[in-house]
């Protein structure tokens, strides 16, 4: 196929990607949007395979087959609770692919001729971004899969290391542009791979939504940078579309925590503010309750709001929550769900879990929608959420989480908190909500406690 026809094919693919992304942004058209994106990819691959530069199809067939089998297996086998890990892993693979494409492209150019500045700059960028995306995603995966500890590791040593490594990557990049040679490429790649590890290692689980959205953005930017090396318009367009959408999502996640991206990446939440003392907050004020007592409350309620957090995912309680919701609805109780934007470990995590449990998405309310309705809500059930319902964020300007938008559950008539213990959430600060007069603590495993409530309700 002639070069012009290939370019036209790429144009068609780019249009399909644009329509696909637009579709993915609306609930009604999301399935179609995803299909259009896949169609665009098919067009792009088929058109590329007709390129006359390609002489050996054996390698390509092998790579495509192996990749398709692994990708297919991963996508069909994963549990919905494992979704954050899988998204992290796919981001990493995308970054790795761009990294290798950049390396191969640069080596090819070097063998023929001295690369021009555009090629060298793009190579440095693609290597750096691709490598950071790869190892950063692998660390995120390991944390989410609990292969390593998921907590925040506030380490001044790592912070200095990160700054040093970032400077080293920039320095090696300048070196590669000034004197294009293979060893610069390998050195840059190696240092950037280490940077990805040290960058994500200190970041704790609750900041994962920001990290995953950012890695998503980086995987797109790496592809765009590879496009600059290969002079490929489709890589540039598709890569930057993804880079932009990922970055927008990163911004939404940061705002939902009232933190800047720099603060998430290089700071730690403990850095500022004075936390209240746990004993002072809780002493003698915590009311423990039982599933039977809560069932009595629920029976007389008109409106119940459920507030899920990461604890619901850990306890795999989404199906138990669905059963309780159905039981309440049979008694004409209105049930809504309040979803904090950063609840869970990736953007939209709670929505995916509740969708798996067949809870209609109309019932899931955003923070701004549900907040004004808490004062006419009879019972709020908090399942495995902590910092996102901590009134300190609103009331104590000295608190480390001051200013973070929260769900104002404390304004409801009664709040039931399902939790294993009084242990603090990610921010490491006590939650006065647990000691409030209108709060009942229901200690226990998330799923077990919710099932007990459903059972107790049935026996009334």
């Amino acid at each position: 196929m002639s070069d012009d026809l290939i370019q036209l094919g790429y144009l068609a693919a780019a249009v399909l990607f644009i329509l696909g992304l637009r579709g993915l942004a609306r609930p009604r058209t999301a399935v179609r949007g995803n299909q259009l994106g896949a169609l665009g990819m098919l067009v792009a691959v088929v058109v590329t395979l007709t390129d006359q530069q390609i002489i050996g199809y054996g390698t390509l067939a092998a790579g495509l087959a192996v990749g398709a089998v692994i990708g297919g297996l991963l996508a069909t086998r994963v549990q919905m609770t494992g979704m954050p890990q899988l998204v992290a892993l796919f981001n990493g693979f995308g970054g790795a692919a761009s990294l290798l494409v950049a390396a191969a492209g640069f080596v090819e150019v070097l063998d023929v001729d001295d690369p021009d500045t555009q090629t060298s700059v793009a190579t440095a960028a693609a290597l750096a971004i691709g490598a950071v995306t790869l190892t950063g995603s692998l660390v995120a995966f390991a944390k989410l899969q609990e292969l390593v500890g998921g907590g925040a590791v506030p380490s001044p040593v790592l912070r200095v290391t990160n700054i040093a490594l970032t400077l080293a990557v920039v320095g090696l990049g300048i070196g590669l542009v000034a004197d294009p040679a293979r060893w610069w490429m390998w050195a840059l790649m190696a240092v950037a791979l280490v940077l990805g590890i040290t960058l994500v290692t200190p970041i704790g689980g609750a900041d994962m939504p920001v990290v995953i959205a950012l890695l998503n953005s980086l995987s797109g930017l790496a592809a765009a940078a590879a496009g600059f090396i290969l002079d490929n318009s489709l890589l540039i367009i598709a890569g930057s579309l993804v880079g932009a959408s990922g970055f927008l999502l990163t911004g939404i996640m940061c705002r939902a925590m009232n933190r800047t991206l720099t603060n998430v990446l290089f700071g730690s939440i403990e850095a500022g503010g004075v936390a209240a003392d746990a004993d002072e907050v809780y002493a003698g004020r915590v009311t423990s309750s039982t599933a039977d007592d809560v069932a009595l409350l629920l029976e007389t309620a008109d409106r119940v709001a459920m507030i899920p957090g990461y604890g619901m995912a850990v306890a795999q309680a989404q199906h138990a929550v669905r059963d309780l919701t159905r039981a309440l609805e049979e008694r004409d109780v209105e049930v809504v769900f309040g979803i904090h934007p950063v609840a869970g470990r990736m953007p939209g995590h709670m929505n995916v879990l509740l969708a798996e449990a067949e809870i209609p998405y109309e019932q899931l309310l955003e923070m701004d929608t549900i907040n004004p309705t808490f004062d006419r809500t009879d019972v709020v059930i908090v399942i495995g959420a902590n910092d996102v319902v901590n009134p300190e964020a609103r009331e104590n300007p000295e608190s480390p989480i001051a200013g973070m938008p929260i769900l104002d559950v404390d304004r409801a008539r009664t709040v039931v908190v399902v939790k294993r213990s009084l242990s603090p959430g990610f921010a490491g600060i006590p939650n006065p909500l647990f000691a409030a007069d209108n709060t009942l603590m229901l200690f226990g495993d998330g799923r077990g406690a919710v099932e007990d409530m459903t059972k107790a309700l049935a026996e009334l």
Binding site: F17, I18, G20, L21, L24, A25, P27, N34, G37, T48, D51, Q53, T59, L60, G63, G67, I70, G71, A75, T76, V78, M80, M83, L86, V87, F90, G94, A97, L100, V101, A104, V107, I212, N216, S219, A222, A223, A226, G227, F228, L230, S233, L235, I237, A238, S240, L241, V242, G243, A244, S245, G246, L248, L249, P341, G348, N351, V352, A355, I359
Partner: protein, 92 residues
């Protein structure tokens, strides 16, 4: 393609990307992320050229790795997004 043309495409596509998804509801955050991640597997196109051009053993090996990883990204990404969206629409 000159550098300026490439840069033009890049900048315009960034603005377009922001416009396209600026109003995405939180329910779709995860599918949008996994779907757009599959699109970033477009680097597969570059990988195919590198792996198939038979330039040298090194570039073929790098290209083969890139084809495999990018295909995992593409196939897995679109499939898992489809699965997830299937759950979203089931109850309507």
């Amino acid at each position: 393609m000159t550098f300026v043309v490439a840069l033009t495409l890049f900048v315009l596509a960034v603005f377009l990307g922001v416009e396209l998804i600026s109003k995405v509801p939180p329910t779709l955050h995860t599918p949008l992320m996994s779907g757009s991640n599959a699109i970033s597997g477009i680097t597969l196109v570059g990988a195919l050229t590198s792996a198939g051009a038979g330039h040298s053993t090194l570039t073929t090996v790098l290209g083969f790795g890139a084809v495999t990883l990018a295909t995992i990204n593409v196939v897995g990404g679109f499939l898992v997004t489809h699965r997830m969206l299937g759950m979203f629409s089931r109850k309507r």
